[in-house]
């Protein structure tokens, strides 16, 4: 088995908590963060349920300590909070002590500010500071500046698999010796743009989502940011760092089937899982738990389940659960949210439940773990898929 790249810090803010500790406590208590939307005005309010972080932008600004004239989007502010926690946990005092990079995934970037001020720009110079905020890379720049990272900084935007690809790239950069340390993950704030966008695809549920259930009605949108710190073995050894776990397998493949929908046989998902297992140098039977993508759309769960049957075989499906019923689908942040949850699972030896599940999908006959399960966990596989046929798998192993 490949040893992988050491993870020395993690940070998260989601609808189930503002810190890693708060998220863990909600997960253990099986307490979801799915509610009606409170902070954005939309005509769809009563037609959808969401995983919303109940902090206004003004509260986030105060928490971070931003100047009044800042032009940060919600996506940037959530990102700063999560990345800061990750760095504190990794005991990084001097960001310049090693070649440190920052790779962030985002899909909406500063869209929340664009949609708020778009119609005012022509008339109102005071809001024009937000024009540059929309670019997704501006979000990453805001966070990098806040952390003091000035070297290798980039953004990946592959829709809902963005953070998985950011984590994967970070691991590859360290493995190749191009960086000594890299903060990787993703952030996406809630926006009217995505609420309406997913609405047009008719895949938003008007109830709390029910991943892998026969009668699932669609997903709940969420917002979150989560980052992990990857460090080279050299730093870990030299500074005697505590390792939270390793990212030991990774892959990205393309379904090449449809712009938004996944293929019936789950080809892209199958290829991503297979290649990630190869990179980790393990066979499917080594997987103790799968944190599935499990968005609760009819198409995703069917396709992902089919791909899992192909990889593991009907008799050998590992324990699996989707944690999307806790947080909603946090889009570009989803894979890093679930990376943090996977690290918590390894740390606590606990599988967090797939909430709201009642009936197995008839064609698959697969039943997720529906309660907190104490179990020794050494290897966890986590899936994340996005539009454009983008399929990514990460494998995390115990320290």
């Amino acid at each position: 088995m490949s040893k992988g790249i050491a993870i020395t810090g993690m940070g998260i803010i989601s609808s189930i908590g503002n810190t890693v500790a708060e998220n863990l406590s909600s997960l253990r208590a099986a307490k979801p963060g799915i509610t009606r939307l409170d902070l954005i005005e939309t005509r769809h309010r009563d037609a959808i349920m969401v995983g919303e972080i109940k902090k206004s932008n003004a509260e986030l600004e105060t928490q971070i300590g931003l100047a009044k004239d800042n032009n940060l989007s919600r996506t940037s502010m959530l990102g700063i909070i999560a990345a800061r926690e990750a760095i504190v946990q990794a005991s990084i005092d001097d960001i310049d002590a090693y070649r440190t990079g920052f790779i962030s995934g985002t899909s909406v970037g500063g869209m929340d500010m664009t949609e708020r001020y778009y119609t005012t720009y022509q008339e109102s110079p005071e809001f024009r500071k937000y024009i540059a905020t929309q670019h997704a890379g501006a979000t990453t720049g805001d966070i990098a500046r806040h952390l003091g990272i000035r070297g290798y900084v980039t953004t990946i935007s592959t829709a809902c698999s963005s953070a998985a690809n950011a984590i994967m790239l970070g691991a590859r950069m360290i493995k190749a010796g191009k960086l000594d340390r890299v903060i990787v993950g993703g952030t996406d704030g809630m926006s009217k743009f995505t609420i309406n966008g997913f609405g047009t695809l008719m895949i938003l549920s008007d109830e709390a989502c029910t991943p892998f259930d026969e009668n699932r009605k669609g997903l709940n949108l969420g917002e979150a940011a989560a980052y992990i710190v990857l460090e080279s073995d050299k730093i870990v050894k030299k500074e005697n760092k505590k390792v939270l776990g390793y990212v030991s397998g990774w892959a990205n493949a393309n379904d090449a089937f449809h712009q938004t929908a996944s293929s019936a046989e789950g080809e892209g998902a199958y290829l991503a899982m297979k290649e990630a297992l190869d990179i980790a140098e393990i066979t499917p039977d080594a997987i103790d738990y799968v944190n599935v993508h499990g968005t609760a759309t009819p198409n995703n769960d069917m396709s992902e389940g089919t791909a899992m049957l192909r990889i593991f075989g009907k008799e050998n499906i590992p324990v699996f659960s989707s944690t999307k019923a806790f947080t909603g689908h946090t889009l570009a942040a989803a894979a890093s949210v679930e990376a943090v949850f996977s690290l918590l699972s390894l740390q606590e030896n606990m599988v967090f439940p797939n909430l709201n599940f009642k009936t197995p999908i008839e064609a698959l006959d697969m039943t997720p773990q529906t309660t907190c399960l104490e179990k020794e966990l050494n290897v966890i596989l986590s899936n994340s898929f996005g539009f454009g046929g983008n399929c990514s798998t990460l494998i995390f192993t115990k320290a």
């Binding site: 047009t200 695809l201 008719m202 449809h258 938004t260 929908a261």
Partner: protein, 85 residues
């Protein structure tokens, strides 16, 4: 009815950006999906919006579209029965 059928063809061509297709190319009974016009699942969602916007018919489940979007004729029949504008 003939008028509605013609109007519907024009609206479908417009909504789905079928640039190289003329009203006369679409037979009333041609299947819209698969072998006929070759439309796909995204087009089906576009047609659901067309029904709501132009004829005040609101579908909540995309699966309902399957039966309605069989052909222009079937669509026109459905619209005649259910239109609210």
């Amino acid at each position: 009815m003939a008028e509605l059928v013609e109007e519907l063809k024009e609206k479908i061509i417009d909504q789905l950006s079928l640039e190289d297709i003329e009203v006369s190319d679409i037979d009333n009974n041609d299947p819209l999906f698969g072998d006929g016009l070759g439309l796909d699942s995204i087009d089906a969602l576009e047609l659901i919006v067309l029904l709501e916007k132009e004829y005040g018919i609101k579908l909540t489940d995309p699966k309902e579209g399957k039966a309605i979007f069989q052909s222009v004729q079937v669509m026109a029949d459905y619209i005649t029965k259910h239109r609210t504008k």
